[in-house]
Amino acid sequence: MKSLAELQAVREKARNRMALNGNAPDHVRVVVGLATCGIAAGARPVLDTITQEVEKNHLTNVTVSQTGCIGMCQFEPIVEVLVPGKEKVTYGKVNAEKAARIVAEHLVGGKPVAEYTIGSLMGNKPAQDETVTPLKNTDFYKKQVRVALRNCGFIDPESLDDYIACDGYQALAKCLTEYTPDQVIKIITDSGLRGRGGGGFPTGRKWALCAPNKAPQKYVVCNADEGDPGAFMDRSVLEGDPHCIIEAMAIAGYAIGATKGFVYVRAEYPIAVRRLQIAIDAAREAGLLGKNLFNSGFDFDMEIRLGAGAFVCGEETALMTSIEGNRGEPRPRPPYPAVKGLFASPTVENNVETFANVPQIILKGAEWFSSMGTERSKGTKVFALGGKINHTGLVEIPMGTTLRDIVEEIGGGIPNGKKFKAAQTGGPSGGCIPASLIDTEVDYDNLTAIGCMMGSGGLIVMDEDTCMVDMAKFFLEFTVDESCGKCTPCRVGTKRLYEKLEKITSGNGTLEDIDELEELCMYIKQNSLCGLGQTAPNPVLATIRFFRDEYVAHVVDKKCPAGVCKALLNYYIDPEKCKGCTACARKCPVGAISGTVKNPHTIDTSVCIKCGACMETCKFNAIKKV
């Protein structure tokens, strides 16, 4: 690719092929979401069926292709039908049988199958003049603004042409042909973009700190070591729109004067790795990576490095040590990576989602981006909604959306009529937002102010059945496992924290233990070497802060209010509800249940091992945890 004109020509051709120019009004595109979650839910047979049926019916105006994550995990497999000039129709929970009916009725007959659409699965009523609710009008979608995810679920991630058709590589071309590196940095700085990996450091400033440092070789690193349990937006971007990361890294390289990039991807994401490699090869082939890009004299190339399952490698300096082929242990800062990073050279490292915003900011301008969001957090943020919530999935919303909107409207509330208790953000480094603060506007600073953090964007919803002490213990078990062992406060401190939580959840805690927990947390935060240790106590501190009464219930009353901590609960049969069917007594592995037919049974708590088998068996809801 030597010039903008050449890129434009490819773009026009690709747009015509995809019928995006209004050139083929009867052209129909069918896309099937084939990200990891779609494939797990059975999207491959759906894609096969549609392809076969389309062939069988000789529908020459229909193209069928794969795409990345459409964003509604619980409705996978998802199929979308796009007809020029019409609202797209989105089908959910499709199987081979439904796929055949969609081809027969919608593609051949021209009438959408209303009952299979996402709108109808979500229970949204179509407006009067419509037969189906378009996806964009559903509660799940209408508050969303897609910037980082704009191409995910629209283009075929394995097609460079598809990406170019959606303005791909235009931003790189613009930077190389119209802007100086300083101008590029200024645009990113003015946009207010901050690091989406969790820290929230201003991206423009990061680039500006690195740019003036002279060195024979500088590096751009993309952090795709998405280790927070519950977060999967980076995977979705890599699986759904890998070229935008390549383009953004090349732009960053131009801005700071680096000619070499590394993407560090966790090895648990094989599909992301495969698609990114396909994209890198295609870009290289097309001259979008390599020497003298767009005839500007700027060279840039990149390669993938795989992680091997170490959470700490998501930390900036540990990631660099890992790329160098070592144990992924963090390094003290300063010197900062901008001065001495990868291979001891000046380096800029950004997260996948941060990079995914860059090409759009270059194309649409800093003002467009900074018009979204709040005073100090600009743009949008992708959240992975999970846990006890009706609509799980990936949502991209403007910064400053309230937690209430996210949980109640977009997420569709809590299943089974349970009460919302808290939302956990930031994974093992984050805290929780309790129900009392549900009207918090979610941005970097508001979350920090309540002792929480944005983190990479995992948002796990918890209901009244979740024990907050157990939750804190779960995260500490994670950090104890993942602490790299280099510095003592983290290595030993997290272990001691875990032991104290274990003591409390097993019913042996005292009120002093809670105070000691807090004191130890502060010590670990202040003295650990890297982000892992500095944030590891956050789940404990946040739960003590907002749910101290639960800790007290564990140590004083020796009760677990949520009925989770096994040592603190007993099973009990309600004599009013028990019909004496004997099902539970037969199921009990230790023979702790006694009683005669048609008479209420009782559980001998000294024998009971609290396995819960009786409760699962009882058809009359007679067995309770107290």
């Binding site: 990891t36 979650c37 494939i39 797990a40 839910a41 995990c73 619980q74 996978e76 998405e226 280790g227 927070d228 349990p229 519950g230 977060a231 999967f232 995977r235 090895a267 648990e268 994401y269 490095r305 795989l306 992680g307 091997a308 399952g309 170490a310 959470f311 890992s322 790329i323 160098e324 082929g325 070592n326 144990r327 992924g328 291979f343 992975a384 999970g386 846990g387 006890k388 799980t392 999935g393 956990q424 994974g427 995992g458 796990i460 918890m462 979740t466 779960f474 995260f475 994670f478 496992d481 790299c484 819960g612």
Partner: protein
């Protein structure tokens, strides 16, 4: 976390050794590719026995203790062999909240092995893994490349039976 080191004798073939040598030759000019070589070695042998780590150390011209340091640091490097079918249960937050602990427990009881162990006949191994990123389908378990979502302990026996061959 201490890794389980295999006591099963090393049974590498000449063919495997040749494959590994090829990988080493392609990467030995750049020592930062040590992890890549180790990952590919694990693909060849299924795990990284001491003998293979020695071959890598010699081939890449790095001290054996460095190779051993890396292999013990990262969770993905296995020092003991995996079963024909590796059952992996996700203990990430979303799965945990939705009860994957009980699923793991059930599998452990059914197979008679703890996580990171392999059944004596070499058929099944069990592991508890971190988030596989399919939180919408929680709780999730995988058997080799097959993914099972929305798991309950009751489904365990039926699913394991599918891998009886």
């Amino acid at each position: 976390m201490q890794k389980k080191i295999s006591s099963i004798p090393f049974k590498g073939t000449a063919e495997q050794a040749a494959q590994l040598q090829k990988v080493i030759d392609a990467n030995k000019s750049d020592r930062s590719r040590l992890m890549m070589v180790m990952q590919q070695a694990q693909d060849i042998y299924g795990y990284l026995p001491f003998e293979v780590q020695q071959m890598i150390a010699d081939g890449m011209d790095v001290p054996l203790e460095k190779v051993f340091g890396v292999s013990t640091f990262y969770a993905q490097f296995a020092l003991s062999p995996k079963g024909k079918y590796n059952v992996s249960v996700c203990l990430g937050t979303a799965c945990y909240v939705k009860g994957s602990g009980a699923v793991l427990q059930k599998i452990s009881e059914t197979l008679g092995i703890s996580p990171d162990e392999c059944t004596p006949d070499g058929k099944f191994s069990l592991s508890a893994c971190r988030c596989v990123g399919a939180c919408g389908l929680a709780p999730v378990m995988t058997i080799n490349d097959d993914v099972y979502g929305r798991m309950t302990p009751d489904q365990v026996a039926g699913i394991l039976a599918k891998y009886a061959d």
